[in-house]
């Protein structure tokens, strides 16, 4: 049962072959048994989860079930969930209990889903390896000496280790796609504005976007149906007609035009990654797709642009963590300034402080034009590149990450090397485009490789269709990590 997709789980619940309480308990037992090894969860509250499961069972009995009713789902610990400790993996919020639900949590609650727990992540979503968490690093279920990617590393690892059928994540520069790639699961970052950011603790507001992680594209479609919803409490939320993201899953791929950006297939990609991605593209050709080389010349500037804009917004977004109203406050201080300094010095980890400093610097008087405004210009160039590319193709494909999972600690001393793990994913955030990652092979060490699919704005249903038909044709999505198999 734990290897079933959401549709099958839903069917089994409807047929009363299993109850939500039984299903939830089964996953809670797996978390008990395996979380020590992967550290994917920060908070588990069996009592709260089982109470929701019981309510879901009652709803199923009444015939009032929706597709996700009774299904346990893990949430990245960046989403506020009423009554749940919500830490953002920071000491700053170690004991913060959210007094309200994020819009996304409300949507899952309305759908009758069960909150299985809150997953580990990089502190305030800043990181690409899930090593910056105050609650310790997440281990990759495929090889516990390696990182799961980040920042949604806990969510990706939990799905890969079969500790949850599905999870939510957030993606600011690749934080859903890169860990999905490194953990061998599927993940999707929607078009900016589709998923409400209300109740999602902000990292970089103009880039942050919530999205789902699961085994397959078919599962992602069901999750997206719940997550995408207009929310007037988020001024950047888009008011669009409701979509059924599963509606095109089976549409044939004949005539699909795949754009291959030459900049994304250059040096710096590991041989195994290149081989796996090229094999996947060959598979698409067999499915009737054609390929065309496209240019995204401004993409090479996405790393510097991103590392100006994201820290700038973060430096301001994280100012509210000042020890005054909630969260961590240093125990001893002499005056107000000392309280601020010690609280923030002790409450934030090194990577968060680094980005606050970078962000403060680039917004400073005399530097703003040279950094922040220049980065915004690059951002427009990147978006223009994509819009030109999409005149020639329907989707763009590339490796999600230049390499497979790297060793724990391997890049912690070299931030630039760490930042380069997101080189292929950043551009979609800067342009606001939807992007996803699906498993497309294993490297020689047996570690998963991810294929990135970037679509045009609001083309999520088509992207899921593209991913789904590949997943029917190949078995990469159903390969089990050693932890999942145990």
């Amino acid at each position: 049962m734990i290897n079933s997709g959401l549709k099958a789980l839903s069917q089994n619940l409807a047929d009363r072959k299993i109850s939500s309480v039984e299903l939830t308990r089964a996953y809670l037992e797996r978390i008990d048994a395996h979380n020590g090894a992967v550290n994917a969860f920060i908070t588990v509250d069996a009592e709260a989860s089982l109470a929701q499961a019981k309510a879901a069972d009652a709803r199923i009995a009444l015939g009032d079930a929706k597709p996700l009713t009774g299904i346990p789902i893990a949430h990245k610990d960046i989403w506020c969930a009423k009554g749940w400790r919500t830490t953002c993996a920071s000491r700053m919020l170690e004991n913060f209990r959210a007094p309200y639900d994020a819009h996304v949590i409300e949507r899952f609650n309305e759908a009758g889903a069960v909150i299985l727990g809150k997953t580990n992540m990089d502190e305030f979503a800043m990181g690409s390896s899930n090593e910056t968490s105050w609650f310790g690093p997440v281990k990759n279920p495929w090889d516990q000496e390696r990182v799961p990617g980040g920042s949604s590393g806990g969510s990706a690892a939990a799905v890969a280790a079969a500790l949850t059928p599905a999870a939510t994540g957030t993606d600011t520069g690749g934080s859903i796609r890169q860990p999905a790639s490194l953990c061998g699961v599927s993940g999707l970052k929607p078009t900016y504005g589709l998923v409400s950011r209300y109740g999602m603790i902000a990292f970089a507001s103009s880039l942050d976007q919530g999205g789902p992680l699961a085994r397959t594209a078919e599962d992602l479609a069901l999750l997206l149906d719940v997550m995408v919803n207009f929310d007037p409490r988020d001024s950047t939320s888009l008011d669009r007609p409701e979509e059924d993201y599963s509606r095109m899953l089976e549409a044939p791929l004949n005539g699909l035009r795949i754009g291959l950006p030459r900049e994304y297939f250059g040096d710096g990609i590991s041989g195994d990654v290149r081989t796996a991605v090229e094999a996947a593209i060959d598979e698409y050709r067999k499915l009737g797709a054609t390929t065309v080389e496209v240019g995204l010349p401004a993409s090479e500037l996405s790393v510097p642009a991103y590392y100006v804009i994201a820290p700038a917004e973060a430096s301001s977004n994280l100012s509210r963590f000042d020890g005054v109203r909630y969260g961590f406050r240093a125990e001893e201080y002499t005056d107000l300034l000392d309280m601020y300094c010690k609280t923030r010095a002790q409450g934030f980890g090194a990577e968060v402080k680094r980005r606050i400093l970078i962000g403060t610097y680039v917004l400073s008087h005399g530097y703003y034009d040279a950094y922040y405004l220049q980065a915004q210009r690059i951002r427009r160039l990147i978006a223009r590149d994509f819009s030109q590319a999409f005149e020639q193709c329907d989707v763009i494909m590339s490796p999600t990450s230049p390499s497979t999972a790297f060793g724990l600690g391997a890049r912690m001393t070299d931030p630039v090397q760490m930042y380069l793990s997101d080189i292929f994913t950043l551009a979609a955030n800067l342009a606001g485009l939807p992007g996803m990652s699906i498993p497309c092979g294993l490297d020689s060490a047996g570690l998963p490789v991810g294929l990135q699919i970037i679509g045009n704005y609001f083309s999520e249903a088509r992207m899921l269709n593209v991913a789904h038909l590949y997943q029917r044709q190949t078995d990469w999505a159903t390969r089990m990590s050693p932890v999942a198999a145990s």
């Binding site: 007094p99 917004e313 107000l336 703003y368």
Partner: protein
């Protein structure tokens, strides 16, 4: 040496919306601390601002009222600094592109009009309050005020004296109340000014270095602070000193300004566009709707009173000092059915600016709470116009209206105050007085004008004040001159 004072004002007008500028919490004043601060106001993790359209509508009203450009697209920016009563660690304001640019306010000082140009007006949120009393060695934070909508109205350095600055502030204060965007309650901080003051040698076209006096919440403090600050700067310069750009606070107890911070330790606010809010777009339809909804502005109304009703500039300045007074005046005038419009207007203006204003002042009441309604006052004035009442007895009737003794007609009848305009009756009184005062009659005929006034007084007294004084004068004169 001859110095010129140069003043620019930045005024924070609290917009009278029901809820806050970026949250749904109430803006009502005076609730227990932190009972009107919702998740957004407290800046809980994950919350987001949503712009209150009503606040924008009020900013547009202001822009139209001062003849400014209302920008079709303006941008909210974050002003970053740490302070315990600033929950997000930044204030949402407008920086490079404000909602209102330009415009002007005309002030009247000693009968002379002067134009004060506005630089801009922008929307922003207020901070909370730090409470230092009641917390020994600690500070309490009240976030009820956090997120209250403000319109910051910035002038050019157009004012040249504390009097001009106060007159501008008063005119602006009346205007924002007139167009119903701010309640103007200065004690509650709904309208407060920062004054940028510099001095220069008269004739110079260079501006001196300015110092900014923060948070002046009464016209008196504004006047005192500017006067003290300008004097201080002049003395300092004459002693050979330099003025350093600085922010100062005014201490009402000592009447002095004192240094808060200099430019060196000024914050770098690191402004940048707020990514949580879309640019504010105002279309022509919105502007047009607002324009149609605007009341007649005080300057227009003042001009109309002068042109159509022939009122003096002095009368009209008082009548349009706030919308309640002007509306009261119009209601009074409309209810006077008799007589010539100009005469009725003049009488109404005199009564409202005179007797009524004085009575309200004595009772410490505002016009809307006046015990004498516009129609009641009109009833009184109508009886003055048709000569039923002498102006002396009219005051007695007014007192009756004030104390709730009924309408003017009821009071006149009850107390028998109807003016005697029957010439036969007056002639009889005059004959009696002449007969009883031979000496004074002789004095008058001998050339003493005073004696005439005394005789008039006696006729009036004999009529218990009810005789028409003009008729008494006329008849008395005729009869004496016949002698």
């Amino acid at each position: 040496m001859d110095w010129e004072i140069v003043i620019g004002l930045e005024t924070h007008a609290q917009l009278s919306t029901r809820s806050k500028i970026f949250s749904g919490a109430s803006t009502a004043f005076g609730s227990p601390p932190n009972t009107q601060a919702c998740a957004v106001d407290i800046a809980l993790p994950g919350v987001l601002p949503v712009l209150n359209i009503d606040a924008v509508g009020k900013a547009i009203r202001f822009g139209i009222a001062v003849g400014a450009t209302v920008n079709r697209r303006s941008v909210f920016a974050r002003k970053n600094y740490f302070y315990p009563d600033l929950p997000k660690g930044y204030q949402i304001s407008q920086y490079e592109t404000p909602v209102v640019e330009g415009g002007q306010v005309a002030i009247q000082l000693d009968g002379v009009e002067k134009i004060i140009h506005l630089t801009r007006a922008h929307l922003e949120e207020d901070a909370g309050k730090s409470l230092h009393e009641d917390f020994h060695g600690m500070t309490g934070i009240d976030l009820n005020r956090a997120g209250t909508p403000l319109l910051e109205i910035v002038t050019e350095p157009d004012m040249r004296s504390a009097e001009e600055a106060v007159e501008y502030a008063k005119t602006l204060h009346a205007l924002v109340r007139w167009i119903d965007i701010c309640d103007g309650n200065m004690q509650e901080g709904s309208f407060r000014c920062d004054a940028n003051v510099s001095v220069r040698k008269r004739g110079s076209d260079q501006l001196g270095t300015r110092r900014e006096i923060k948070n002046l919440n009464s016209f008196r403090f504004l006047q005192q602070a500017i006067e003290y600050e300008a004097r201080w700067q002049i003395e300092h310069l004459e002693e050979g000193g330099n003025i350093q750009q600085a922010t100062v606070l005014f201490d009402p107890d000592s009447g002095q300004t004192r240094l808060m911070r200099t430019k060196e330790d000024a914050h770098d606010y690191r402004y940048f566009p707020d990514p949580d809010l879309l640019p504010l777009e105002i279309d022509d339809a919105w502007l047009e709707r607002t324009r149609e909804d605007m009341p007649e502005l005080p300057a227009v109304r003042r001009q109309r009173y002068q042109n159509e009703l022939g009122l003096s500039a002095q009368d009209t300045v008082l009548l349009v000092s706030d919308r309640e007074t002007a509306d009261y005046f119009e209601a009074t005038l409309a209810a006077i059915s008799t007589g010539d419009r100009a005469a009725a207007a003049k009488l109404a203006a005199n009564w409202i600016n005179g007797e009524l204003a004085a009575a309200l002042n004595r009772a410490e009441l505002e016009l809307p709470a006046s015990p004498v309604s516009a129609s009641a006052l009109a009833g009184l004035i109508s009886r003055v116009i048709d000569k039923t009442l002498s102006s002396k007895l009219a005051k007695e009737v007014f007192d009756g209206l004030w104390s709730g003794a009924g309408s003017a007609d009821e009071i006149i009848d009850k107390r028998g105050l109807r003016q005697i305009s029957d010439s036969g009756a007056i002639e009889k009184l005059v004959d009696e007085v002449i007969g009883a005062n031979e000496q004074q009659v002789a004095d008058y005929l001998g050339g003493k004008q005073k004696a005439f006034n005394s005789l008039v007084g006696q006729v009036m007294k004999a009529s218990k004040g009810k005789a028409n004084p003009a008729q008494v004068n006329e008849i008395l004169k005729q009869k004496l001159d016949k002698r």
